[in-house]
Structure formats: structure tokens, C-alpha cells
């Protein structure tokens, strides 16, 4: 492992589980919940955040010595906003339908707390390479939760994954539907996203007791 030292690997793997941005640090929940009704949207959102956080962390880290601390929030917001505009234009050009589904939530990556949180907590105090790894690690942690939530919501809510019907046809009663299974339309509605994340937190904290709050 010439490229990644042991501490560098830790920067990537830590946020995946024990220091997960969503379930432990409580960052970036806003967008995580709203767009997870379909697996495809969650994957695209994760990629967008990966791009913005990875690059943004590098930019902020390169500028960390010249940003006056009083106006650092505005500087950070401008950096993120620029990156998000790039993402938004790319989405509009290559995946127009999807960018309609995500609607304002692409723009809301700007105020996604993960991004500001990582800038403040990490990029302002560390070098570019470490910040890049930290950005990648945290957005992967974000992606894991988004994909789990998206997987269950799409599977149970519309019986498909990435748009392919995996449970059979609901109208012609094939596959599982032949045995009386019905799609749970409730999973597609807003409240179930919250409850799904709540359950993920429950499972995760049951597994590692150190995370339990008192």
C-alpha cells in the first residue's frame, strides 16, 4: 500500500460505519430522505455528493491559509455553489428526466450539512490529499445509507429495483403477486423514509454498543 498509508485508509473506512455522517454525526439528512423513493435517484445523488465533497474539500484545503476566518462561511458556500452548478448543468444535459425528479434537491446539496460540516471540521485543518480522502470517505458513508434506504423503499413500495420489476407484475399478478402480495404504497411517502432511517440506526447501534446514547 504505497498510495494509502494506514491512517489514510482509516479516513475512508471510518465514515462507512462507526463514524457514519448520517447515522452518527447527524449530517446531511435533509436531502438523504427526500429523494430515496427510487434507487436510481439515490445513486445519482450519492455520486453528486461524492463529486462535490471530494473536490470541495480539496479546494477549501488548498485555500485554508488565505481564507479570513470571519468570512469563511461565505467563501465555503461560494465554492460549493459553483461545484453544485456544474453538477446541475451536467445532470440537465445528460439525464434530464432524473434532474426533474431530483428537482430542488440538487440545489440543496449546497446547504447539505455534510459538506459544510466536513469543510469546517476537516478541510480547514488538513492538507489537500487527506481532505480528499476524507471527502471520499464521508460521501461513501452517505451513499451507503442512501442506497440502503432507496433499496428498501423502491423494493417494498413499487416492487422494482432501478425501474426493473423484480417482484413480478402487480397488475397481471405474476411472481410474488400471485400469492397475494401487494405493493406497500406507504413506503413511497415521506414519513417512511424517516422511519426506515430510524430502523437502520436501531440496527447499527444494537450491533456496536459503544454508539448508544444515554
Amino acid at each position: 500500500m504505497g498510495l494509502l498509508s494506514k491512517r489514510d485508509t482509516k479516513l475512508i473506512t471510518d465514515p462507512l460505519a462507526d463514524n457514519n455522517p448520517i447515522t452518527i454525526q447527524v449530517l446531511g439528512i435533509c436531502s438523504a430522505l427526500a429523494i430515496t423513493a427510487e434507487l436510481e435517484a439515490s445513486i445519482v445523488m450519492s455520486i453528486a455528493v461524492l463529486f462535490v465533497l471530494g473536490l470541495g474539500n480539496v479546494v477549501i484545503s488548498l485555500m485554508r491559509n488565505i481564507i479570513p476566518s470571519k468570512i469563511r462561511i461565505i467563501v465555503q458556500l461560494i465554492v460549493v455553489a459553483t461545484l453544485v452548478i456544474i453538477v446541475d448543468l451536467v445532470l440537465k444535459a445528460f439525464a434530464y428526466q432524473l434532474s426533474k425528479t431530483l428537482s430542488v434537491f440538487v440545489g440543496l446539496i449546497i446547504t447539505n450539512c455534510i459538506i459544510m460540516g466536513r469543510f469546517e471540521a476537516f478541510a480547514l485543518a488538513n492538507g489537500p490529499w487527506k481532505s480528499f480522502l476524507d471527502g471520499i470517505g464521508n460521501s461513501l458513508g452517505y451513499a451507503v445509507i442512501l442506497i440502503i434506504v432507496g433499496f428498501f423503499r423502491e423494493l417494498l413500495g413499487s416492487g422494482s429495483l432501478l425501474g426493473f420489476p423484480v417482484l413480478g407484475d402487480a397488475i397481471e399478478k405474476t411472481g410474488v403477486y400471485a400469492y397475494g402480495y401487494e405493493n406497500n404504497g406507504f413506503m413511497l411517502l415521506a414519513p417512511m423514509a424517516l422511519i426506515t432511517v430510524g430502523l437502520i440506526i436501531w440496527v447499527q447501534r444494537n450491533k456496536s454498543k459503544a454508539l448508544i446514547e444515554d
Binding site: 439528512i29 435533509c30 427526500a34 440545489g107 449546497i110 422511519i195 430510524g198 436501531w202 447501534r205
Partner: protein
Amino acid sequence: MEHIELFFKSIFIDNMVFATFLGMCSYLAVSKKVTTAVGLGAAVIFVMAITVPLNWLLDTYLLKDGALAWLGPEYAEYDLSFLSFIMFIATIATMVQLVEIIVEKFSPSLYNSLGIFLPLIAVNCAILGGSLFMQSREIQSLGLAFNYGVSSGIGWFLAILAIASIREKIRYSNVPPALRGLGITFIVTGLMAIGFMSFGGMLTGGDEEEVPAETTVVISVEQQNDIANNTKVIE
């Protein structure tokens, strides 16, 4: 009437927290005590009441497709809406700093209660979300934009007030250890959102049935005219 409808719609039906999940980060982080929750909620109403109309002006006279027409006919074709993210967030961040300075100068007591929350607000998704929804829902006038800002703020205030009260009480309940804190808050919020969904029919309930009836009447009158005309032609 339009104003009243928008007001109730943004508070209950399209509630920032329960319908669109905006501002969840501060909603979860600052809802441990009722007093701090009230402070943050009030600050959100205040900032949204300022930034949404301001961004509406920016959107209408600078960013929209053809918005620059007031500068002269040669500018009428410009579409700067790709800049809206950066303009909106810059407006919000500067307004928040400005408000902080003004409030500190003129009302130290208000600053003491709101002041610590103001920097938090610049990165609250609810504020930017309010402006972006204002843009995507194409709100018609400055008055309605102000109304939308205030009422969405009130909706967010209600939500954080409710969850803070519940969290204060839930401390005395026997929650499974792994669910304590964050987990149960998520689930309670989900249940509250289900409750808020029942407001969904509040405004549309009566109107929807009348409209199609009217249109069918209109169509049938036209058809009758058509038929009459046709028969004349045939004659």
C-alpha cells in the same frame, strides 16, 4: 383568498420538515430543549421573511428567462437562471450577516436570544429550500413571496417546537437503549409526518368536484352549438 390559501398550504400541507425534509439537520441537532428550539424557530421565520422576497426580486428582475428585458430589448434573450444557486446562497449568507450586525446594534436583548442561532441559519436547508421552491413553484407576486417565506417559516417553527416538546417528555419513557436519542427522534418525526399528511385534503377537498362539472357543461354547450351549426350546414 389566494393569500390565505398559500398561508395554510405552506404551514400544514407542504410543511418544510414533514413534507420535504428541509432543515432536518438543525431540526435534529437543536431540538433537545424547548427554549432553544423556540429561539431557532423564531430566527428561521425572521430570516425567511427577508430572504424569500429578496430572492424573488432577484429571480424576477435578473435571473429568469427574459428577466433582463427592462434593461432594453437587446437584453431580452438572456437567461441567467443557471446562476440562481450562487445568487440565492450569496444573498442568504450576506443577509444573515447583515441581520446579525443590525440586530446586535439596535436590540441587544433580541441579539442575545437570536444571535447564536443566526450563523447556523446560513447553512439551514430550509432557508435555501424556501427560495428554491419559490422559484420552482413560480410564485406570482412579491406579496405572495413574502407570505410564502413567513408561512413556511411558521411551519418549520411549529415542527421544531413539537419535536422539542416530545423529546423533553420522552426522556422519562423506557425507550430501548439502541433507539435512545437519534433513533427514536427519527421514528417520532415519521409518525408526526403521517399525522401532518391528514391535512392534505384541507384545501382541495371541496373544489375539485365542481370544476370538472363546469367544464363538461361548457363542452356540452359547445357541442350543442356545433351540432346546431352542422345541422344548419346540412340543411
